[in-house]
Symmetry: C2
Subunit: 321 residues, 2 copies
């Protein structure tokens, strides 16, 4: 019976699929290579004739090689905001539509950026470790944190998420500036021409831009040195926007003061040297993920797959063909 | 030479004294019983004739017994906002003025309340432990957190700190209600007659009131049950406002979902059962403490001691005589 349902390929299961597999499976027949014993390449060839739609997330790249193996593919739905894991250029060439999560996650991501920043500034996770290790009752002195209000915060990338982070930190008393590909006429916060200039004037950088060839390793040792010894970096965008080796060096050598990181260069692998650092707070690429947002993305994915299979307009089309 | 300076008794050193002892000691001669080998009672008798002012914090109570041993005492400066550690009734009777930190810490405390709440909702400290334990790269699934926006937040105690917490969480998309001794005419948020009613309508309680006979153990199992299984409690006020045993029971049995706690009933002793709970984030009574606020409280304490010894008006007098 499930075979009568429209076929949808998933290279690896996004969180929304893990949470709503039962509901999804009532509407679509999912092809799951990770449950198959045959190699991916062969799996794709076997199903090439029936795969017109795919669901993906940042964890499983859709490369040109995969695209070439799926001649009937016409639609990729990613449950993420970022699309750096999809070869968009090839999609355009091959006539494959792509849709993403749009601004559905931006409140949750912005809240996480605020949470990570307060955590690093006020040393909350480190304090929690301190108390749970029984050190307070041994009268060990716990180090002071820093005040949030009055801090100069630089937003790197003033899209929807950047703006939602800026609004929140502005209302918490921070002084906001930003850099972005272009100055945004409707944004009242001061614009800096580049990230180096932004870092030089700021205490804190919050990375909110997309990962592209231009932003890859954009936050490097030079930017960190410009930010300075009391500087804090929060990254809720993509790991590879930061040169992770430079970040580790700067954190280890006190060239910046701390970091709040939801994303990493080689997820789920985080260099173990980070684990030792008390001034780093890390979450496992969960800035977008709440029970509430997962419900919302479920509804968006189902809605878009339904729309695709019935030739209706899609929500949040990134590549239109 | 130091003996010519005005004498000030400190029962135990507040954080501001530890941070600024050198600067303080250029202006005042401090009597430090914790550095003396003689018992406190005898120490106080020895210096009874010269002690006209004392500096204290929440960690070292100023009881009626201590007050009776200091017949010349006329001024107590506490570096805290709360004054529950000082026998104010006895101070009034004996003609001892008391001054506190006023609203000097309220931004920092409110930021910490927000930080603790986002941390519990979005499981940040727990996620940090998860990543640092290397569980992410073992593909263990990390549980979803909850969205901040749209949550019903009840503020318990609508003083300056309560208001600063309310403003922040309102701007982050929460729906605010409050309870307080009296309805505040200038506050636009809905008022509840008591904490039970507030808990029944809310997802989250943030405790911001003073510790008094009326508020002692006010947050008990009944309130927690009214808050419900998805409920979260944040306490940045005083530990004993919550019945800590009830809180532990409710957390262990899933009768509420989590807690962010900066304060405890018997500081610095925290019941070890709390250490095992992944849904509890704890900080060592540091909500008021940042490098910036400590500098400010130093200036306030010096200013008030100077004012007292030169018969000038005091800032933030709590007991006027």
């Amino acid at each position: 019976m499930a075979d009568d349902l429209p076929h949808v390929l998933i290279l690896g299961p996004p969180t929304v699929f893990k949470s709503y597999e039962k509901q999804f499976s009532e509407k679509f027949h999912f092809l799951k290579p990770w449950e198959s014993s045959i190699p991916l390449h062969q799996f794709l060839s076997t199903h090439a004739g029936s795969v017109r739609a795919a669901l993906c997330s940042a964890a499983h790249p859709v490369t040109s090689d995969i695209l070439k193996n799926l001649p009937e593919l016409r639609f990729i739905m990613t449950s993420s905001v970022g699309t750096d894991h999809i070869d968009l250029h090839e999609c355009r060439k091959l006539g494959v539509k792509v849709a993403n999560a749009g601004s559905l996650f931006s409140d949750d991501v912005a809240d996480m950026a605020v949470g990570l920043l307060i955590d690093v500034l006020r040393k909350i996770s480190a304090a929690d470790r301190f108390v749970k290790a029984g050190l307070w009752q041994q009268n060990v002195v716990y180090p002071l944190g820093h005040k949030l209000g009055g801090k100069q915060v630089g937003i790197v990338g003033m899209g929807r998420i950047g703006f939602d982070v800026a609004k929140r930190l502005h209302s918490l008393g921070c002084i906001i500036s930003y850099t972005s590909r272009n100055k945004k006429p409707h944004i009242k916060f001061p614009f800096c021409l580049n990230v180096q200039e932004l870092a030089a004037k700021c205490d804190i950088l919050v990375i909110c831009c997309a990962l592209t060839n231009q932003t890859h390793h954009m936050i490097d040792k030079n930017v960190m040195k410009a930010l300075g010894k009391n500087g804090i970096i929060v990254n809720i965008a993509r790991g590879a926007i930061i040169n992770e080796k430079d970040l580790l060096d700067c954190l280890q050598n006190g060239e910046i003061a701390g970091a709040g990181l939801d994303v990493f260069e080689q997820e789920p692998n985080v260099p173990e040297e980070f684990f030792e650092l008390d001034n780093v707070v890390m979450t496992p690429h969960h800035a977008v993920l709440t029970e509430e947002s997962t419900r919302n993305i479920y509804e968006l994915v189902v809605g878009n797959l339904d729309a695709f299979f019935s030739n209706q307009p899609l929500m949040n089309e990134v590549v239109k063909v």
